[in-house]
Every structure is written in structure tokens, then in C-alpha cells.
């Protein structure tokens, strides 16, 4: 019993020394860098533990991003190089656990806003998301790809292509079906927009979506008709009409069709093409003049 008491006392006596040593211990810099992980190294160092390794990498990634978001490192934010490593680490996670959705969701929903000026990284993000989509059939993955294309990379045709894929997947919101033709139309691909709308009309059974698609189709067909009339006018007079009224005056069309969204069709002088003040969205009459 005495020995036990002495042993206990010795442990108590050692405490101040331990505290002193702990205070004077050399510390690692608080700024945790984003380390690049190699797939083969992680794979070989974790036999039979691919998924837990992927989980731990994702935890580390969330921790680092959290520090960046909440300004824990007051003196700086992630550099472009660190964002690049972070994106590559998501790629490693996806190789380790190809069915893990959360890292892809993080990559698609958050990271593009941080690297919006870097075309190369945006394309890298898109390729990882598309690779992930081969395993995980979730509409949000092609949606992120499409969004990145039309919003950050300013490529509406590719944006529409991936949004169309997303809109046809299970669980996709109905408005995606309407967004796709609009993107095609905005990028001047009226025929493609009409074809997509027809296709969706055939596929869709929901009443409200069907009604909206019919309205979209009506507007697109009107744009197509006006575009055709402008072509005839240019062939005849060798110039772009100054307004749609010129098409009526020259007898090519009888009247300017009405925009079913409440806007007004007009000629975009730059390309001599037709567009509408409604932007293919319902507008109030008072705000429709342009």
C-alpha cells in the first residue's frame, strides 16, 4: 500500500515538469497547409481501408476549408496553388471511394466560386464531377458541370448540354427543363432550343410544366419565324432592318407576333437577330419596354 502511495505521489510530483515541458515544446506553425496526397501512396498505406482513408481525407479537406471560410488564418486565404491541391485531393478521394457523394457535392457547389477566374481549374472540376457521375447517378453532378459551363466559363451551349442531362435524371427540379431551351435560345441556337422543348413536351406528364413548355415553344417558334423574315429582308434589301416594323412594311410578315411572356420582340443590331425583352421569363407589362 505504501509503495502505491509513493508511486502516486511521484506521478503528482512529475506534473509541473510535464506542464513546463509542454509549454516550451516546439510548435508547428498554426497555418495548416493543404498537402497534396497521392492516390497510390494513400492506397498502399491503408490496406483494406480505402473508404475510411477517403473519409479521413474529406474530413481534413472540410477542416481546412472551414479555417479558410471563418478566417482562422487571419493573415491569409487559400492561394490558387492550394485550391489546386484541394481539387486534386477530391480526385484522390473519388478514386479511393468512387461512390462517395459528399466530396463531389462540396467540389461542385463551393469550390468553383473560389476559382472562378481560373479556367483550367474549372475544367478540372468539371472532369472530376463527370467522372464521379459515371458511378453516382445524381442529377446535381451534371447540373454543377452545366452551371460551371454557362456561368463561369460562358459556354451556354455546353452548359445547356449538361443541364439537359441533369434535367432528365431522377429527382431533378422541373425548372431545369425550362432552363435548357432558354440557354440554347440565348446562345442563338433557336432550332436546338425548339427541338429540346418538343422533346421535353413529349416526355413531360406534369400539367404545370407542360403548360410552361408550351408557352416556351410558342415564344421560340415566334423568334424563329422573325429570324426567317429578317433573312428574307436582308436578301432583298442587302441590309439589316432597323426595326421589326420594317418587316411588316415590306410585306414579309403581316404583323409582329406577341411574346407569350408579355415582353416585346426586338432586333439585336449587333448580330441582326431577334430577341425578346422578357428574356423568356414572365414579366409585368410596365417593365417590358426596352
Amino acid at each position: 500500500m505504501k509503495r502505491l502511495l509513493v508511486a502516486f505521489l511521484l506521478v503528482v510530483v512529475s506534473i509541473p515538469f510535464m506542464l513546463k515541458a509542454d509549454k516550451s515544446k516546439p510548435r508547428v506553425n498554426e497555418v495548416a497547409p493543404v498537402l497534396p496526397y497521392s492516390y497510390s501512396q494513400v492506397l498502399l498505406s491503408s490496406p483494406g481501408l480505402r473508404s475510411p482513408a477517403a473519409d479521413l481525407l474529406f474530413m481534413n479537406l472540410c477542416y481546412l476549408t472551414g479555417n479558410d471560410v471563418f478566417n482562422r488564418w487571419k493573415e491569409r486565404k487559400f492561394t490558387e496553388e492550394e485550391w489546386k491541391r484541394l481539387i486534386e485531393n477530391v480526385e484522390v478521394i473519388e478514386k479511393l471511394d468512387p461512390y462517395y457523394f459528399d466530396p463531389l457535392y462540396y467540389l461542385g457547389s463551393y469550390v468553383p466560386w473560389k476559382v472562378e477566374k481560373n479556367r483550367e481549374l474549372l475544367l478540372k472540376i468539371n472532369s472530376i464531377l463527370l467522372h464521379g457521375n459515371q458511378m453516382i447517378k445524381d442529377w446535381r453532378l451534371p447540373f454543377f458541370v452545366g452551371f460551371n459551363y454557362f456561368y463561369f466559363l460562358n459556354d451556354k451551349v455546353k452548359g445547356a448540354k449538361y443541364l439537359k442531362i441533369a434535367s432528365q435524371m431522377k429527382g431533378a427540379p422541373f425548372y431545369l427543363k425550362l432552363l435548357v431551351p432558354r440557354l440554347y435560345a440565348e446562345s442563338g441556337k433557336i432550332d436546338l432550343a425548339i427541338a429540346v422543348t418538343y422533346e421535353e413536351l413529349k416526355r413531360t406528364e406534369e400539367g404545370a410544366v407542360k403548360k410552361e413548355l408550351k408557352r416556351r415553344l410558342k415564344a421560340l417558334l415566334a423568334i424563329k419565324e422573325l429570324d426567317r423574315a429578317i433573312r428574307i429582308y436582308r436578301n432583298r434589301f442587302g441590309k439589316c432592318p432597323s426595326s421589326l416594323q420594317d418587316l411588316v412594311k415590306s410585306g414579309i410578315i403581316r404583323a409582329i407576333p406577341e411574346d407569350p411572356y408579355g415582353g416585346k420582340f426586338y432586333i439585336e443590331k449587333k448580330n441582326c437577330t431577334v430577341w425578346t425583352t422578357s428574356n423568356l421569363r414572365p414579366v409585368k407589362k410596365s417593365t417590358s419596354s426596352r
Partner: protein, 266 residues
């Protein structure tokens, strides 16, 4: 040929061992650890908890199989029980087979209890998780994983018995069995990396491929992804192939073990 008396004694002896209850208790503790780890991650916490819980289950069964097979065979020699047993009208090969069968039944009981512990743990974690999209747990899939883990345990037990006969040091036999298991898990990833690499010479690629065909492939028993991700599909042919593979390879290992034990000087 009658290995059953030895198998019965081995099984009874193994159930009384502390490692049985000790490793089961460890599994319960590791379930709590899995839950704690999953709380740290963003998103699907149930997926992460399952990843860790099933990995712990997988490795606990592997450890148990190695410990009981090596430990039990070695103890017989060190306690001189083996002389008593072999003085009866019993072949040496019957003794080896009996040891193996006893270990296999003990592993079966261990996997049976582990299955209940892990499944109930995962169901509780899944039921109490607050997720926007619930993570569905399919108990049948956990059961199929448990069957494969049992086969793996039996396979490892055969190696445990072999190493206990082959080596004169228990520690060496234990370490060898554990390293063999880890190497067997790495086999597929190593082959995948080496074959696809531009920097590995054709000779080394050939060596790795030969090793891939001959070495015991423990990664076949690891179907945790099938349990965690419902999108992963596995054909019944896979289960049948793994069963036949482990049956044939285990028989081969036992043949070698009986051959060595017949020639061993006691």
C-alpha cells in the same frame, strides 16, 4: 480419419479464452469510436460511421482468427498436451485438421456475435442520425459481408495453424500471419498500380502478376463498399467464386500443414 474429438476440445477451449470476450468488447468500443469519428465529417455521417465500423469488424475478425489458430496450436506444444493427444490412436494429420476445424467453429461463433453487435450498432447510428437524405442500411448486405468475413477468418485460421507448425516462435508465427493478411489485402491495389504504370519494368510487372495469382488474395473478402453504397451491385457468381477459391486454397494450406506436421520432431 477422425479429427472431430480434437476439434471439439479445441473449440471448447477457445470459447473459454479471454480473447473471445475481449475482442467482442473491443468491437463494441470501436462502434462508439466510429460514431464519434462520423460526427466530425460534413454530409453523410452514417456512411462514414459504417465505413469505420465495418473496417473495425473486418480487422477484429482477422485478428481473432490469427490469435486463436496460432495461440491454440502453440499452447498444445508448449504445454506438452500434444504428446498426450498423439499417444491416443490418432493420426498427426487428424490432429492438424481437428485444430483447424475447432478454430473454424470458434471463428464462426465470433463472427455470429460480431454480426449482431455491428448490425445493431449501425442501425442505432442510422436511426439517430439527423440527415436530410436518410442513409438506408440493408441488413441482408451486412449478413453477406459477415459470411465473407467468416470465410476469410477460416482461410486465415488455416494459415495460422500452418505458421504455428512451421515456426518455433509464437511471436514470429503471429507476425507472419498478420503480415501475410496485410499483403493479401494489398495484392489487388499493387497489381492495379504496377500494371497501369509506365515506370515499372516488364520483369517487375511479371513478378507482380505471378504473385497476384499465387499469393492468397484477402481483398476478395472485403465487400464493405457493397454494404455502404446501395448502388454497388455484386453478382451471386462472385460469392460462389470466392467460396470455391477459399475452399480450394484452404485445403491446399492444410495439406502443407499436415505434411509439415507429419515430419516435425516433437
Amino acid at each position: 480419419m477422425n479429427p472431430f474429438p480434437v476439434a471439439k476440445i479445441t473449440f471448447k477451449e477457445l470459447l473459454k479464452e479471454k480473447s473471445f470476450i475481449g475482442l467482442l468488447t473491443l468491437e463494441v468500443f470501436l462502434l462508439f469510436v466510429s460514431k464519434l469519428i462520423s460526427n466530425v465529417v460534413a454530409g453523410d455521417t452514417v456512411k462514414v460511421a459504417m465505413d469505420f465500423a465495418l473496417s473495425f469488424f473486418f480487422f477484429t475478425v482477422a485478428l481473432y482468427s490469427v490469435f486463436v489458430s496460432v495461440g491454440s496450436t502453440f499452447r498444445d506444444v508448449s504445454d506438452r498436451v500434444v504428446y498426450l493427444i498423439l499417444s491416443k490412436p490418432l493420426k498427426r494429420s487428424d490432429y492438424v485438421l481437428g485444430k483447424f476445424l475447432g478454430c473454424a467453429v470458434a471463428v464462426a461463433i465470433f463472427v455470429f456475435f460480431s454480426f449482431f453487435i455491428v448490425t445493431s450498432g449501425i442501425l442505432v447510428i442510422s436511426g439517430t442520425a439527423n440527415l436530410y437524405v436518410p442513409h438506408v442500411v440493408v441488413v441482408e448486405r451486412v449478413f453477406l459481408l459477415s459470411l465473407l468475413v467468416f470465410l476469410m477468418g477460416v482461410f486465415l485460421s488455416a494459415f495460422g495453424v500452418l505458421f504455428a507448425i512451421l515456426f518455433t516462435s509464437q511471436v514470429l508465427a503471429l507476425i507472419s500471419a498478420i503480415f501475410l493478411f496485410l499483403a493479401g489485402l494489398e495484392l489487388s491495389p499493387v497489381k492495379e498500380l504496377v500494371v497501369s504504370s509506365k515506370y515499372v519494368s516488364p520483369v517487375n510487372k511479371l513478378i507482380v502478376q505471378i504473385a497476384y495469382y499465387l499469393f492468397p488474395n484477402f481483398s476478395l473478402f472485403d465487400v464493405k463498399d457493397y454494404v455502404v453504397h446501395l448502388a454497388v451491385k455484386v453478382s451471386p457468381l462472385f460469392f460462389a467464386s470466392v467460396f470455391i477459391y477459399s475452399l480450394i486454397y484452404t485445403s491446399a494450406v492444410l495439406l502443407v500443414a499436415t505434411y509439415l506436421f507429419d515430419r516435425r520432431e516433437l
